[in-house]
């Protein structure tokens, strides 16, 4: 039942890529989200280390609308993970940069999927 509104939402979304992004003091996330069809969403994910200027993760992912997807990359001893997920009104991306057991950097952004009344 919960997936129905999401499917309807995506069915109504034209196949235009949305460019989204976020940056911390050390990393920049660039994200292209493209609703390919009512059953598929494609994502182009890039994470750049702003200290070195290097691209530390570059991935093309696909998933069903409303489905969470994850990509992992890294450099040297660092692991970079990006998780894309959905909730009723929002799409989110979480970037984790792990240096061994230390979370060296972490940021998460939520984007509203569609205009909604305040308080919903």
């Amino acid at each position: 039942m919960r997936t129905l509104p999401l499917l309807l939402l995506f069915a109504a979304v034209p196949t235009v890529a949305a460019t989204l992004g976020a940056r911390s003091a050390h990393h920049e996330l660039r994200l292209e989200r493209n609703a390919v069809s009512a059953e598929q969403v494609a994502y182009d994910v890039t994470v750049v280390n702003l200290d070195s200027g290097k691209t530390v993760l570059k991935a093309h992912l696909t998933g069903k609308p409303g489905e969470a997807v994850e990509a992992t990359g890294g450099e040297k001893d660092r692991t970079v993970r990006v998780r894309l997920a959905y909730s009723a009104h929002f799409f989110s991306a979480t970037v984790n940069v792990l240096d061994g057991k230390t979370i060296a950097d972490e940021f998460r952004t939520w984007w509203q999927l569609e205009a909604r009344a305040a308080g919903r």
């Binding site: 230390t102 952004t109 939520w110």
Partner: protein, 207 residues
């Protein structure tokens, strides 16, 4: 010494940002002194290309501040180890939180306790207490998983728990408060009860 530290802080502003389809938010956060943090906030409307908000504000550390432009509002806030920015406009809303400094997750130091897995059968919950959803977390729409490392004794009681992966707005503490009230049938090794350590995930869903 204090002057040197202040200069060091002043020299390292953090440039943070986020962009949606319609807006680009840029926040430069500078720790000016022990009592003051300054923020340069700029929002560009990507549809028109115009800067719709450009403001410099200051506040005490951990104090929330808000700046309003003609058609856009930005709220900056703190919670535990995170700093957040929320942009609200008529056709758009985006929110980002950033970890302020590297974090090393805590681990339980319990010599003699076994890690669940292999020949160590996990404890089984016999009494569960649902975690509370703090109003601040609900209001800010925070959702996701909190991962705890839990030590359950051979008597089935929770002896220790730490947050391995947290969430802002008190959700980590809420999960800890909850797990401390749980009771278990103890983990076993070769059929005998043992102290055991395992990871446990609490999912918080508000939206």
């Amino acid at each position: 010494m204090r002057t040197l530290l202040l200069l060091a802080f002043a020299a390292t502003p953090q440039i943070l940002g986020a962009r949606s389809e319609h807006h680009d938010l840029r926040v430069t956060r500078s720790v000016v002194s022990w009592e003051q943090v300054a923020y340069d906030v700029a929002v560009v409307d990507l549809d028109s290309g115009k800067t719709v908000l450009k403001s410099r504000v200051a506040g005490k550390p951990a104090e929330a501040v808000e700046v309003t432009g003609e058609a856009v509002r930005v709220r900056l806030a703190y919670e535990e180890k995170f700093f957040s920015a929320t942009l609200t406009a008529a056709n758009d809303e985006l929110r980002t939180w950033w970890q302020l400094a590297p974090l090393t997750p805590q681990v339980i130091n319990a010599p003699g306790a076994f890690r669940v897995g292999g020949e160590v059968a996990p404890p089984v919950a016999v009494r569960r207490v649902e975690p509370l959803y703090p109003e601040a977390a609900r209001r800010n729409g925070v959702r996701g998983n909190v991962v705890l490392q839990v030590l359950v004794g051979k008597d089935g009681r929770v002896k220790d728990a730490v947050v391995v992966q947290g969430l802002p707005y008190g959700l980590g503490d809420s999960a800890l408060d909850s797990i401390r009230k749980w009771q278990f049938r103890p983990a076993t090794r070769n059929g005998e009860p043992v102290d055991a350590i395992f990871d446990m995930t609490f999912s918080f869903r508000s939206w």
